[in-house]
């Protein structure tokens, strides 16, 4: 049925073929890598048992999770303000928030190092309470936070915009304080978008390399480990880790998306 429709419609057919090209471009490298590793299952198994590898993957997931939680606590209120209020300079603020998406991530890492390094007052202030950002967990987290927060803020903002402001007004006239109106009405209604933003943010954090490597080569997150093995030992030693990283990322992504979009049909 679908194929017949395609053949009868020139435009749909053209679009289908173009779409197929880009789809294969995404899928073939991933599939090739995974399947060629399966043929070398022994090496993949050894990689899974390598504590340095599992440690790096665990660290990556954990650091990205912390970054996402920090982003959630600080980003959702900002997203709400941007969705609900108009004020001079709002466009500028929205534009600046999206800058981390377009900045090369190594440059972002250097910018962060500049501010959170030991010579600048922010770095010094955190140093005073025992938090250092160079070659530390904290450094990994702020690097991930910086490059991934726009995804959460944008998604949450769109979610809040879709909530009719009059729902909050009705809640207020029924006796709800602004806090109650937010937590009982706006937040639950925007929850799906916020969750989707969180997932995007976490996924983006897991995949970050450039900003992290500038701030923290050690402790080693999985993307850095892949890079190090590739540089030191070559392709054959880097590939199993890369495969494992892809599998874990895809698995986590699928699980979270399933949770987020469950019951979306209603």
């Amino acid at each position: 049925m679908f194929l017949r429709k395609l053949i009868n419609n020139r435009m749909a057919l053209t679009f289908f073929l173009l779409g197929l090209l880009i789809f294969l471009f995404i899928v073939i490298p991933l599939a090739k890598m995974i399947f060629s590793s399966v043929s070398e299952a022994e090496i993949l198994w050894q990689t899974i048992l390598d504590p340095e590898v599992t440690g790096a993957i665990g660290l990556t997931l954990y650091a990205a999770l912390i970054a996402t939680l920090v982003g959630f606590l600080l980003g959702v209120p900002l997203a709400y303000l941007l969705a609900r209020h108009n004020f001079p300079g709002k466009r500028l603020i929205e534009g600046l928030i999206d800058v981390p998406i377009v900045v090369p991530h190594t440059a972002a890492g250097i910018a962060l190092l500049f501010v959170f390094g030991q010579r600048f007052f922010m770095g010094k202030a955190f140093q005073a309470i025992g938090i250092g950002f160079v070659d530390s967990m904290a450094g990994i987290i702020i690097a991930m936070l910086f490059v991934s927060i726009p995804f959460l803020i944008d998604s949450a903002k769109e979610g809040f915009k879709k909530v009719d402001v009059r729902l909050e007004k009705v809640a207020r006239t029924l006796g709800a304080s602004p806090w109650q109106a937010f937590f009982r009405v706006s937040f639950p209604l925007a929850w799906r978008s916020i969750l989707a933003g969180n997932i995007m943010m976490w996924a983006r954090g897991i995949s970050e390399f450039g900003a992290v490597i500038i701030l923290a080569y050690h402790p080693m997150i999985a993307p850095v480990l892949v890079y190090e093995r590739f540089e030191t030992y070559g392709l054959n030693y880097a590939r199993p880790i890369a495969v494992l990283l892809i599998l874990v990322s895809v698995l986590v992504f699928i699980v979270l998306r399933t949770i987020a979009y469950r019951g979306d049909k209603s």
Binding site: T173, L174, Q180
Partner: protein
Amino acid sequence: MIEVKNLYVDLGEFILEDISLDIEDGEYFIILGPTGAGKTVLLESIAGLYPTKSGEIWLRGKEVTRVEPEKRRISIVYQDHVLFPHLSVKDNLTFGLRMHKTGADAKKDRLNWVTELLGIGSLLHRRPDTLSGGEKQKVALGRAIITQPEVLLVDEPLSALDPETRESVQKELRQLHKALGITILHVTHDFEEAISLGNRIAVIGEGRLMQVGTPEEVFRHPNSEFVARFAMTRNIFVGRAERKPSGDTVFKVDGTEFIIAYDADGTHHASIRPEDILISSEPIRSSARNCFPGTITHVVDKGSTLYVTVSIPPELSCLVTRHSFQEMELHEGKRVYITFKASSVHLFD
């Protein structure tokens, strides 16, 4: 009860200027005006949902201008219901009770009271998106009155409904007003709705208050060109319906008898749309049962169309195109005939 004194609200693209109203306890008060006149903004300002630029709002002898909306005891019902989509009908209804931390027993009593009053007991476990327009409106009303507010604000509650549901919700509103003795402020752009429900009417246009008075005062004695023009979009009369031995029912107003397509008697309102009335220089033979001679008393130019007022008496305003206006050489003082069908007369209370 509610006093609005010289209220100014500035929303940037929209401004309310110098609004003063004095609404009495238990009154059914209508705010009437064309779309974009600022009616909803006025309603939301009274509820405390917009900061006022200047002026005061008093409620039961207490100034509430700066009081937060949740402490005013004023509920609002919007045209498109605005039910909480993530909550069941029951949770929608009891939302206000939860906010006011009403005890479990009182909560149950109030819920029963509201569901019985509005006949929505069977809907409690439904989701808002599965309800019909009329059902949604009832739930929205129930949600608003369950907290027993002092004032109920209703914003175009009938506009989004089909004619049949509209009639039943209108009845519901009238009964609610009677049963609760609550003060209602009702915003509408519809004349018949205004006359039908309102004790008094305030006409609003372009962010300003134009006239306040009983329906009769506003429609018989408009105090400004704006109100007059607005009133002219409908011919509205008070008169008596009467069954004739011939089998026809007539509507008597100012000594003239319109034949109507209703079986009714007693005092009623009747309306005729200006576009349903034909003007001619000679009597027309047609299936239309109503044909009367009259004199043109007034002409209002609206560009490509004109409102021509013809006095039989009573006075009826008729809509004619510029082309026929010129061709028939209509002018004030000219004798003409007006014709309309019995079914063009709409009877209402």
